[in-house]
């Protein structure tokens, strides 16, 4: 119990720090958000000097004291109210995140889980059958290759050959042009069809990491005395591999998985850019590109909360699958 309590306090401290930093950074930057917006509009082409004034009026920049802004900021955080996005004016940050989050949760969420499950299972297999031509040598070499080439290059190649040359998949977007997101079959089918290629590229590039990590951990575990003992006792191969070796070997991978679950909400910037996918990665890129501080703050806060919570979840899961952690806390 003390273990959880300590974890919870650390979690709250982390949250407080990040919210405060999130609040301070844009305000410590040289220039103000209005200037960033002005630069953005200036960059779009000639505009009359008079137009600048109207943008300042439109944004309504706060000139209150820092302390008052800070307390107001906390109130806003609890209401998840980050104000108006400069890029998507007059839409609010909350509106934009609500619109893009489902896309990312589905695409990156599903691929992360598949990638972890498949990668880890293949890692167990490769380690258990160490040295076998297909189940170890071929798989491990292939994944060493796929996890080492640059994602950006691979995604562009896929888009070029599979979409442009062969016409198998759409070039970009999350769904066909004339559809409104809803839960009907046509839309879901279109969204699924559009997500195949991005999902494929994420899977190919990420699965290798899990497989290689799991294989290495598993090999270490297999050389332990308790595995030898289990073999001597005549336990079934499957039981030794899964409940003895894999259960111990999976702990580092589990932590990594929890972390990546937290990062799902941040989206996959490169994937979403290459395929014009309407998710959080693209939103974050647009926010950074336009120095849209309210939008950045909203996205960062969500990422931080999810990562911290995912870490806590990983701790809890570790407690259940690893008794040593439980005892260390007592």
């Amino acid at each position: 119990m003390r273990h959880f309590l300590r974890r919870l306090i650390i979690l709250l401290l982390t949250l407080w720090t990040t919210v405060t930093i999130n609040f301070l950074i844009p305000r410590l930057m040289p220039g103000n958000p209005a200037e960033a917006m002005l630069a953005k509009f200036h960059g779009k082409g000639p505009m009359s000097p008079q137009a600048l004034h109207s943008i300042e009026v439109m944004l309504g920049i706060s000139s209150e004291g820092l302390l008052k802004q800070y307390s107001q900021y906390w109130v806003n955080v609890f209401h998840f109210n980050f104000g108006v996005s400069y890029t998507y004016f007059p839409y609010s940050v909350r509106h934009m995140i609500a619109q893009t989050l489902p896309w990312t949760l589905v695409l990156v969420g599903v691929t992360t889980v598949i990638s972890f499950v498949v990668g880890t299972l293949l890692g167990i297999l490769s380690a258990w059958r160490q040295g076998k031509i297909f189940s170890d040598m071929a798989i491990t070499s292939l994944f060493t290759f796929t996890s080492s080439f640059p994602y950006f290059w691979f995604a562009l190649l896929c888009a070029f050959f599979l979409s442009y040359v062969l016409n198998w998949f759409p070039l970009s977007g999350g769904n066909a042009g004339n559809m409104t997101p809803s839960l009907n079959f046509n839309f879901l089918a279109s969204a699924a069809y559009h997500s195949i290629l991005p999902a494929l590229t994420i899977l190919v590039s990420s699965i290798g990491g899990w497989q290689l990590g799991m294989r290495n951990n598993m090999l270490t575990a297999l050389s332990e005395d308790y595995v030898t003992l289990a073999k001597a006792r005549g336990l079934s191969e499957m039981r030794i591999a899964l409940t003895y070796a894999a259960r111990n070997a999976i702990l580092p991978n589990m932590t990594g998985f929890a972390m990546s679950l937290g990062f799902i909400v941040g989206g996959s910037v490169l994937t979403e850019l290459v395929f014009g996918y309407p998710g959080m990665g693209n939103l974050l890129y647009v926010a950074v590109q336009n120095e849209d501080f309210p939008l950045m703050q909203g996205i960062f806060l969500i990422i931080v909360i999810c990562v911290v919570v995912a870490n806590l979840a990983a701790d809890i899961v570790n407690v259940f699958i690893d008794p040593r952690v439980r005892r260390a806390g007592e």
């Binding site: 109207s54 759409p170 070039l171 970009s172 559809m179 850019l273 120095e291």
Partner: protein, 562 residues
């Protein structure tokens, strides 16, 4: 207009690889997210009257916003609302639109006669009270007044159904352009809008040739307004706006003929677009205001006019245009006038001033005491080598290339030019506060040269170093110039106006407050397969910049090809 600059640096490989590397690539109709499936179903047997426009960028999807005063409006809005007059930004030609005529009474009263028989697309009658309401709305909500017309207006009223009277606090004749560029909104709808600044106007009611028929975040469709007052001149029946998610995919769609009309930056356009269908694929990058090389006039050596003249001679604008700007943006005249559209304003004695001449530049520098030292560096009187920094945003790849050409030009004279590439905001902040040596800026240009000269030369648009200047970043402060600009503002006489612009051109040539480098291009590609009569260099009746007026001008000019 410049959106491609950012995208270019984002996916340099994408454009290059995909477009150059694969000449025979083809897209099937059902294959791309950006291409509507509705195209065929709506066509008639004889002629295709549906247009697909590659002009509206999503980021990556659209946000629904048809508020004509919003900075983030959907481009389709420009086909829904109309203005009092259509002014051709190329040459200033005025075409009566919602108003049939106008008249100045002195310099402080402007009266428009409003056309009769025009209806809003919801069937209600349009009248002068809508015009008066629109301008008074801008007064009430300054955030909507992007041209600051209320800085000079004192009242706008509609004494009867066909007359609108604008009264001015101070004489400001050029404001006519801003008044004419203001979209007119219906009083019966907008009077009930609680906050017009954040209003997204999802059911737009306008007087224009088209109305919104469907919207999703990835595509929207406008259909012809059958009750339009010029309906017989409009041949297009449907406009489809698919979302543009990135230059690479949009360029592929353009290359495979998916867009009737587009405003995309395309590398090597002859090969990637025109060659695909030489008969029907065309482009006309209409010139806009010039991009300028600005020098910080508060610093030495830029405070010396002879030094600035030497810079004007030293820079090879032709080379800057060809190497830095892909040859798409032609070299600008040293007077800053937008040619050929503003030919009639050009002072004939100055039209050929400052042809590239490095020898002349060296002579001018020698005449004010600059010498070359043994290392080949140019040194000033006290023997210090001349070196300064040029500051441009890090993601404007074409400007950076242009700066490299300029650096080579100046190196010939022994001047060291260092390149600094901060973020957009950093660059703009440096320009505003005067914390730079040299930089590039955009020039404003509407229908006559006053707008350009006022923005870059008026002391009202500058500020002391450290304070934010709005557009006169080089900090040119000159009483004679200010007087000329004011004189232009206060006269309706073309003779006086031409005299003033002649003198301002002389200032540009003799004093070189800034160096116009090249004309910004309006990206514009179009297909003549279904529609003909597009504006081009031989008939520049409108600027294809996809803004108010120009769209309506073009839509009422187009004819069916078959």
């Amino acid at each position: 207009m410049k959106q491609w600059k950012r995208t270019l640096c984002l996916v340099p490989a994408a454009c290059g690889m995909v477009l150059v590397g694969y000449p025979n690539g083809n897209l099937s109709a059902n294959q791309s997210a950006n291409v509507p499936s509705a195209v065929n179903s709506a066509t008639t047997a004889s002629a295709n009257t549906v247009m697909t426009l590659g002009i509206d960028n999503g980021s990556p999807d659209f946000t629904e916003n048809f508020n004509p005063f919003s900075p983030n409006l959907r481009s389709g809005t420009y086909f829904i609302y109309e203005t009092l007059y259509a002014i051709n930004a190329q040459n200033g030609t005025q075409t009566p639109w919602l108003a049939s005529s106008f008249k100045w009474n002195g310099t402080k009263q402007l009266t428009f006669t409003i056309r009769k028989g025009i209806k809003w697309n919801d069937g209600k009658t349009f009248s002068s009270s809508d015009v008066a309401f629109t301008f008074n709305l801008l007064k009430k909500y300054p955030a909507l007044d992007t041209s600051s017309v209320w800085s000079v207006l004192s009242s706008v009223a509609a004494p009867n159904a066909t007359t609108v009277v604008f009264k001015f606090k101070t004489a400001a004749i050029p404001i006519f352009t801003y008044i004419c560029n203001t979209p007119i909104v219906p009083e019966h709808i907008w009077k009930n809008v609680s906050n017009p600044v954040t209003y997204t106007n999802t059911n737009p009611v306008g007087t224009g040739a088209f109305k919104l028929s469907s919207y999703t975040n990835t595509q929207y469709v406008l259909t012809k307004n059958t009750g339009y007052w010029k309906a017989s001149k409009v041949v297009a029946t449907q406009l489809i706006f698919p979302v543009l998610t990135g230059n690479d995919t949009s360029d592929l769609n353009l290359a495979s003929g998916k867009y009737t009309w587009a405003n995309l930056f395309v590398p090597n356009i002859e090969k990637t677009y025109v060659d695909r269908d030489k008969a029907d694929n065309h482009y006309w990058f209409a010139p806009g205001g010039p991009s300028n090389l600005v020098m910080n006039l508060t610093k030495a050596p830029f405070n010396n006019a002879v030094f600035r003249q030497a810079m004007e001679y030293a820079i090879n604008k032709q080379e800057v245009s060809a190497k830095g700007e892909y040859g798409y943006q032609p070299p600008a005249n040293a007077t800053g006038l937008m040619l050929p559209g503003q030919q009639s304003w050009l002072n004939p004695s100055l039209k050929n001033a400052y042809a590239y001449n490095p020898k002349k530049a060296a002579q001018l520098l020698a005449s004010i005491g600059y010498k070359k030292n043994s290392k080949g560096q140019l040194v000033n009187k006290s023997g210090k080598p001349v070196a300064f920094t040029i500051t441009v945003p890090g993601d404007y790849t074409d400007w950076i290339q242009s700066c490299k050409v300029i650096a080579q030009n100046l190196a010939q004279l022994g001047i060291t030019l260092n390149l600094q590439t901060p973020s957009d905001t950093g660059w703009y902040n440096q320009l505003q506060t005067g914390d730079y040596d040299m930089s590039l800026t955009y020039g404003v240009n509407y229908n006559n040269p006053w707008f350009y000269y006022d923005s870059v030369l008026s002391s009202a648009n500058t500020a002391p170093i450290g304070k934010a200047a709005s557009s006169n970043f080089e900090r040119w402060k000159n009483l004679a110039t200010d007087k000329l600009l004011t004189e232009f503002e206060q006269t309706t006489s073309p003779t006086v106006q031409h005299k003033v612009i002649n003198q301002l051109q002389e200032t540009m040539i003799k004093q070189v407050p800034l160096i116009p480098l090249f004309y910004n291009a309006n990206w514009n590609e179009y297909s003549t397969a279904d529609f003909v009569g597009w504006p081009d260099a031989s008939n520049p009746y409108a600027t294809p910049d996809f803004l108010f007026n120009d769209n309506e001008l073009i839509m009422t000019h187009l004819k069916l090809a078959h």
